[in-house]
Symmetry: C2
């Protein structure tokens, strides 16, 4: 035997490409607009000698700003280094049953990765033919439940009532709703956390708040859930969020007008893009997120993906069962989308 | 049963106090000097619209800067969100044996916390009466080995030869040396990583580089070790280090002159402080770190700790066996130390 026998061996998640050249990047669901302008002032006024001190371990400035914005007590907010950190910590904290956790077969591709790394048994439930979640699939014995709403990479939104039905049916499991894309027209189930102590709702600053580069995610739940998560977090790393991220994030969440304007611009571009994509011969489930999961009817998806790449336009493609005929296209600026549509016109009808 | 039955319940680590008032803070081994001055330029020149994009997941700018400074290939460097993140990830990656991992009874108080949260069996080995590590204690069957060098909270340095002896005797285990404090006069065992594939050396920007607030740690080892750690890291969270930390850290590590000057100032203050503490009636093991682990002979340590706190001077005290007669005093500026010595004079001899 040797030291390699005791290594945790995993197949890591492959993130979307981050090309360094100048390209049109519609492949990782980033926001095309900058974050709230006052974030610049935070950087200007920051005294770099404050870097020498450990950051507040409870990230209180950021937690309080989020709590105020969402009108909940700070004790009901957990913050982490992106929603990936929040969800991964939640898996570790809450998914310790011998029973399998449940999530859809078509969903965010990190859930099975976390389950593998933490050795959590899991079982996937197929979406319906039109990419909907069937709540009855989530009423069997399980060790926990997670899905995004709107779902990824489909963009399909489920109702708060349907989520309540699942949460209510599973008092013995923690149900996590990953609302990374909820701000683009969906209704959050955050208020259900007042009523159900087994519900954790996760959101992120990476999409609607244009801060993917800063790494901020948060979870809302009842105080007990949040306390358990903080206990685990403080056992792994007390100081996960650096000081600049804490204060930039707190500033960003205060600018409600900029947030609403930015989100509305993206929603308008998305709706215009739906019309245009239909004209170009795509079909897609209706999206309530900042991306469209669209299937080109005239040419194979992989071919379109590669042709777009040649033209320096990046979208996301997975060569996997069920979804291999689709492209996930992030909603960029109107100008970026026009360039995309011109390219698609040439590729599909040229 | 209910959802709480499957919660991972842990006793979290308690970090040193981070008082918000103006105090003399000698309790968390922070550097009293600001980080390299050019870090200010990085913030001034940063385009906040770059926050909207995900950061490079491999943190290549920072990895390359560290690799260049330490003259190793980038494939041999792993970076994380502080050395806590690096070590916690290393525990998860390498400590998967049924046999206990080994570390000293008096050491960094996070090792048993990580072992507990990851359910890794462990066994502690007593330090000698003068706080030394006995290498023979680490030559039994084990699932891995970790200790800091210099050790915390004692500040005692062990030799590279002694570490080589332990690494050579344990080809079936990964040996981790936590060199958080090595830059304050110790000799790193980093070059042993060329020779032994089971050795991982961990360092941090939090102490000698004045960047605790930014959260940067790194590990050096052979390419295989680093690859395994990256696989696990990418399975937990692909984007852990935000963009500002990556570029500020890369800039900081380039300024070798500032680094040397700062470290030398701290070493000079430490040596002067040793003389002064002896005069004041303290005894302590010789420290090669940025703190002194000192035992007041005239009054109980806890009393001195509390009296200092009343005077708004924070040092660290643990009410635990063996070390309950000691205070861990971070080396601050000369001015801060003078204030401390005046207060100690009043408390001990007043």
């Amino acid at each position: 035997m040797n030291w390699e026998d005791n290594v945790r061996k995993v197949v890591p998640y492959t993130p979307g490409e981050q090309p360094k050249d100048k390209v049109i990047k519609l492949n990782t669901n980033e926001n095309p607009y900058p974050p709230a302008p006052k974030v610049r002032d935070i950087l200007n006024n920051f005294d770099i000698s404050d870097m020498r001190k450990y950051p507040p371990p409870d990230a209180d400035v950021l937690v309080n700003a989020i709590a105020e914005r969402y009108n909940v007590k700070p004790e009901r907010i957990f913050v982490g280094v992106g929603s990936d950190d929040v969800i991964s910590m939640a898996f570790m904290t809450f998914f310790n049953s011998e029973k399998p956790i449940l999530f859809p077969d078509i969903t965010y591709s990190f859930y099975d990765v976390w389950a593998d790394v933490y050795r959590i048994p899991y079982q996937t439930k197929p979406l319906t033919a039109d990419f909907r979640i069937n709540p009855d699939d989530y009423k069997c014995e399980n060790g926990g439940i997670i899905f995004p709403n709107p779902n990824a990479p489909t963009g399909v939104l489920e109702s708060v009532d349907m989520i309540e039905d699942i949460v209510k049916s599973n008092p013995d499991s923690v149900v996590m709703i990953d609302e990374a894309y909820i701000d683009f027209g969906g209704k959050s189930c955050l208020e259900l956390t007042e009523k159900y102590e087994n519900l954790l709702v996760i959101q992120t600053f990476s999409k609607s708040r244009s801060m993917a580069g800063m790494r901020i995610g948060f979870a809302t739940g009842n105080e007990k859930l949040i306390k358990y998560m903080n206990d685990v977090k403080f056992s792994v790393n007390s100081y996960t969020m650096n000081i600049l991220t804490q204060i930039c994030g707190a500033e960003a969440v205060k600018d409600e007008k900029y947030f609403t304007d930015t989100v509305n611009k993206i929603i308008n571009t998305r709706e215009r893009s739906k019309i245009k994509l239909k004209e170009l011969g795509f079909e897609f489930p209706d999206s309530m997120s900042n991306f469209i999961f669209a299937r080109p009817l005239k040419k194979p998806a992989q071919y379109v993906f590669e042709e777009l790449k040649k033209r320096k336009i990046f979208v996301r493609y997975w060569n996997k069962p069920i979804i291999k005929d689709y492209l996930r296209i992030t909603v960029g600026t109107d100008e970026e989308m026009n360039t995309l549509f011109d390219a698609l016109e040439a590729i599909l009808n040229g």
